[in-house]
């Protein structure tokens, strides 16, 4: 009992700390969403931060990420088309490759890429702003940091994830058409018929919701983790580490929830 009690106290404290950070994250997500939905929250300064965020998150990575997504899509489509042909299931190749890429893989890969590149940067920047007192300095100067620094990052990140997902999905559609039908246009009606079957309204709404959830996660979790950093410089790497691990689990959880909703 003497050994068990300290163990239970430690585990309980760790559990409470985890609960608190998730509660704060959800609270921040709620506040950021309400602020983002308030038209008066936008002014020249917030628009500048949103544009900068989109530039750093989506525009800067556009050529490299598009090339990578095209390559990955091309390889996976070829695998699906070849395998389907081997089993005499060529009629299903297009549908299967689109379900695999556009509904599942591309949104997840986009979110992971943005999380690695921008989520970690946002987490580090907000943690350093908190540690060095920059947040406090802006508040003292009469600037609402939720409106100026935090909410625009969430909006910019969400727009970036949505835009990159849409772009890579369209690219995958084009590549799938070329892989299945070749470089000609007369099969376009067949292609659109299959696409209409795959992408009905509930499925499109599902992709949109999932991408929005990914976009929210890749910005809200790093910002909330950065804001929770104690004002000690050595805590900056710990904050980023925690933020990235929590972000990874959140993204996986969203993906699993989406799969379960669709297929179970």
């Amino acid at each position: 009992m003497a050994l068990l009690a300290p163990f239970l106290i430690r585990r309980g404290a760790a559990l409470l700390a985890t609960w608190r950070i998730w509660r704060d994250t959800l609270r921040f997500a709620g506040r950021a969403t309400v602020t983002a939905a308030t038209p008066s929250a936008y002014n020249s300064a917030t628009r500048t931060v949103v544009m900068k965020q989109i530039y750093f998150t989506a525009w800067q990575i556009l050529p490299g990420f598009t090339l990578f997504a095209a390559l990955l899509s091309f390889v996976l489509i070829q695998i699906v088309v070849t395998t389907a042909a081997k089993f005499g299931l060529s009629d299903y190749a297009l549908e299967v490759s689109m379900r695999l890429l556009v509904l599942e893989l591309l949104p997840l890969i986009t979110a992971l890429f943005v999380a690695l590149r921008s989520g970690s940067a946002i987490n580090t920047e907000v943690a350093l702003m908190k540690i060095q007192g920059e947040i406090e300095a802006l508040e003292d100067a009469g600037v609402d940091t939720l409106r100026l620094e935090l909410m625009p990052r969430v909006i910019g990140g969400m727009i970036s994830v949505l835009a990159l997902t849409a772009l890579t999905s369209v690219l995958a559609l084009v590549l799938a058409y070329l892989a299945v039908y070749g470089l000609q246009w007369w099969s376009f009606p067949d292609f659109t018929r299959v696409m209409g079957k795959v992408f009905d309204t509930p499925v499109l709404a599902g992709i949109l919701l999932k991408s929005l959830a990914f976009g929210l996660a890749v910005t809200v979790i790093p910002v909330a983790e950065g804001m929770a950093t104690p004002r000690k410089l050595f805590m900056a790497p710990i904050s980023v580490l925690r933020g990235m691990v929590r972000l990874f689990f959140a993204l996986m959880l969203i993906e699993v929830a989406s799969l379960a909703f669709k297929y179970i």
Binding site: N43, S44, A45, T46, T48, E125, L128, M129, Q132, G133, E134, E136, A137, L138, D140, A141, G142, V143, R147, L148
Partner: protein
Amino acid sequence: MNLVMKWQTDDAGRRAFLADHPDSILVSPDLPLRANLSVLDNIALIPQYQANLDYDAAADRAWSLLQRVGQSGAAFKRDPDLSHEERFVAKLLRAAIGRPPVILVDRPGMLLPDLHYPPYLEALLGSLADTLNDCWILDYTWNAPLYPNR
């Protein structure tokens, strides 16, 4: 501009004074500039945010203030590249550009460690007199002999 000295005998008194005046805009060693913005952007951010000015108009206002105090050379530098004097001017102009009722310069000796700061402060604040309302300087009593005119 009305320049007022607020003498404090110790840190506890200073903290209590700051807590009693939450509406004053602080120029303090504890409140840094935004590290990833230039001096010009740090200053322009305030009217851009508070008055919804577009960036060019806000930057013009910030630039004219920097020119007036002879520090336009620091406009495009970021915090780590600034001298103590340039950093102090940037913080002061960030506070001044919104024309708050009171600007409180907290422990100027810590902000300007390499200067005989009392005459420098008076000259600098004098050059901004028409853009400032009240300016309070919070310093310790043992530094009082450094201020011959006060």
